[in-house]
Symmetry: C2
Subunit: 468 residues, 2 copies
């Protein structure tokens, strides 16, 4: 069903420096419709180059896994490359490569996505292959068994070889008391070791199907072309009757802030991290998430003029080497707001944490600096605009939003929501989110009595997905 063609609120033509009220209203059109079998389709037209990005997103991720089978959503993502009734293992990617394209996939707590970038003429071929593995996945033990070693190795590389990766896992496990967001996307090793192809097939049977997927096509195509091709390739797949509403265990009231200390001999640079439970973008009301996005940028964004950077890293005797803030606004359920400080040489973690708390407290008292607020707004707007310039990035944020409880309207309204944020809203959002009872504070430390290790330096930022 055709839902309508909409003009995005902000396009690539709106350049940095345009007045906040003056950004262009004309942009690449976005069209959304739904096939009879439930497949949602979003087309983002962009005719600058004869290429398309084809992304198929499933509304299932690590937070939908059965207890005890952590990592199975990501394992299934790997096994989706192992062939179907009619295609051999590895054939999918080989075909993409043979037509000069690239393909990959990634898994998060809320979604699993498969994507290819090819010349526009091969869009039908991509759909044919993606539709085939939506319905006809098939692999043998000879395929899944070695692939389990692959994901175990991936855990070794992405998490276990990095103290900061392990630290992030421990932080989330302590932050979430009930919600599966506390379980790592890649999986706990001891559970991954028991995953089988049958487990993956169960997840596939329960969650994959046109009525639990979102197709995003961005690039040199018209909605009419996409519709015709989608009807041809995805249309014949019947809805999966097993698809059920996504019900996640929610957090109980948090009554006691938590702390943890992790020591790892590989840590070259100790740091303090504070993670708060925070609301995500809510469909129809994105204002609080927009305020938190601005807050993160104000407090510890990429600029060296952020509140924490100015308070903690400038001048003689500054207590910190760096200070950062992150907020992940797109999530089906409550998400995280993170602060981190790397102490300067000779400064203890306790001192660094105290300095961080003092800087935040001062910010809460003094409020938002008007000039800084304007700079941050400009920077956020610029980032949004640049983000829209990449086909891949636009398709990606659309897919992520639509599989995380948001609508096309929410996506189109996000920049406006960001621009509408007032300093008062930032302070109100900060007041609400900086509740120590709903937080965990972690210290990542190196060996007490040893020279600094030669390991990686800097904070391992919180990650929200695992790519293949």
């Amino acid at each position: 069903m055709h839902i309508g063609r909409r003009a995005l609120g902000l396009g690539a033509a709106a350049l940095i420096g345009a007045a906040a009220t003056g950004w262009a209203a004309v942009a690449d059109p976005v069209t959304a419709f739904t096939l009879d079998n439930g497949l949602e389709v979003v087309v983002i037209e962009d005719h600058r180059a004869p290429a398309v990005v084809h992304m198929l997103w499933y509304r299932v991720g690590a937070a939908d896994e059965p207890p005890g089978l952590s990592g199975i959503a990501h394992f299934l993502e790997h096994l989706m490359f192992k062939g179907t009734d009619s295609r051999a293992p590895g054939e999918f990617s080989a075909v993409v490569e043979s037509v000069g394209g690239r393909d990959n996939a990634f898994t998060s707590w809320d979604f699993t996505a498969y994507h290819q970038r090819v010349s526009a003429e091969y869009l039908g071929l991509m759909m044919a292959m993606e539709a085939d593995r939506m319905a006809n996945l098939a692999f043998t033990e000879a395929e899944w068994l070695p692939e389990r070693d692959v994901i175990l190795e991936e855990r070794g590389e992405v998490v276990e070889s990095r103290p900061g990766g392990l630290f992030n896992e421990q932080m989330r496990a302590a932050l979430f008391q009930n919600h599966p967001y506390g379980v790592p996307i890649i999986g706990w090793r001891h559970e991954m070791e028991g995953l089988t192809g049958a487990h993956a097939m169960e997840l596939y049977a329960a969650h994959y199907g046109p009525n639990n997927a979102v197709l995003i096509v961005a690039g040199d195509v018209t909605p009419e072309q996409v519709r015709a091709l989608a009807e041809e390739h995805y249309g014949p797949i019947p809805p999966n009757p097993a698809i059920a509403p996504r019900i996640r265990p929610q957090e109980p009231p948090h009554l006691a802030g938590r702390r943890l200390e992790m020591t790892d001999p590989r840590v070259a640079q100790p740091y303090v991290m504070r993670q708060y439970l925070a609301p995500a973008r809510r469909s129809g009301d994105q204002s609080e998430a927009a305020a938190l996005t601005v807050l993160a940028e104000l407090l510890g964004g990429s600029s060296t003029t952020s509140v924490l950077a100015r308070a903690l890293t400038f001048g003689e005797g500054a207590p910190a080497l760096s200070a950062s803030a992150w907020y992940s606004p797109v999530a089906l359920d409550d998400t995280t707001f993170t602060l981190a400080v790397v102490p300067a040489e000779g400064v203890s973690l306790a001192e660094a944490e105290a300095a961080m708390d003092a800087a935040v407290a001062r910010f809460m008292e003094e409020g938002v600096d008007a000039a800084q607020f304007e700079r941050v707004q400009t920077r956020i707007r610029a980032a949004e605009i640049f983000g829209r310039d990449s086909l891949q990035a636009r398709a990606r944020s659309m897919g992520m939003a639509l599989t995380s409880g948001l609508t096309v309207e929410d996506v189109e309204g996000w920049t406006a929501a960001l621009m509408a944020v007032t300093p008062d809203e930032v302070m109100a959002a900060a007041e609400a989110v900086f509740d120590r009872r709903r937080s965990v504070t972690g210290w990542l430390k190196g060996p007490e009595d040893a020279a600094p290790a030669a390991g990686p330096r800097g904070v391992e930022p919180p990650v929200t997905e695992v790519s293949q």
Copy 2:
């Protein structure tokens, strides 16, 4: 099937003061057999009074609940009193009362148990009614809806009206990173509010049946009588084909010890609690659990001569009012070892915790005091012996063990395992369990700037079940 009649290693005839090696080998006989439909039956003969305890235990508890439905095992326990196809709501308990008996039920993470104490002549009647609700539970919305208010009120009374109860919940949620032992038995309120009779019926259909139950009959009966009655009443119920192996998500490696602070205006007496992840009694090898049981009694047992009591509560300027240790040895998966200290007036929680840590460190250095060790062994033996003197208690520890991964042999061998513990084993078990990375330390505090509240005093001990 008859598995055999066994003499317990220790009986009521073995009195306190008997030499450690000299306790009597004759005791009330224990007989175990299994019906063709899978129902395990254990008979504990005791002819001192013409009474029986009839207990039916199901191998399902709060840790077997689907995510998001916390409290459903306990809710089902309540609804089991709401009638069957042939009995009216409340009729079960009314019948028990009419024959001069008493009945009740309780739910833990690993089991749900229903029990009655009646004159021996009514054993058949109890079985008839218990078998009826094993297979024919039936209730309407008019029954389950108000009962949900009952369990919500129970949560109010047992947990929310007691800061220590809420504190224990927050401690467990922080201790367990992956295992459902981190979820309260009674349930999180926000999830309890959504429970329905249909959810309870799903748990019933998935987990109740003769092949997932253990029947314990203790008292003035012979195994032959019990077998005949059990065949008559439970025998006709077919096995439930839905019963599946109990698979619990296990803990990942804990890499970072946690801390939390909870403030509640109702707290009259602040305290420090440390909870460690600890191994449970393992079938066939109970030695480590036995050593931990002795350790808990040595460190902070009921006696005022415990290590922590002597170090922290005696003499002028003693830092603590009380100091305790608890260990819960019976559990399907890893369990908890807990220390708690209530500071004396004018002593801060930080000082009390430091004093506790210093006392434990001194114990780890100095080892077990021989005289105290002997006193503790005597006290444990006495407690075991007295425990065996109560029909109810013997039936209870048998049922708890058999639904938590242990066998009749393990139960019969437990006292011997306790008596066989050596000081070296205690120190080795302490060394293994006192790993701060696998612990959470909590401070329960009252309002900073106010007179002490008039609330309950003393530590709320960790509880492992909810009674109706």
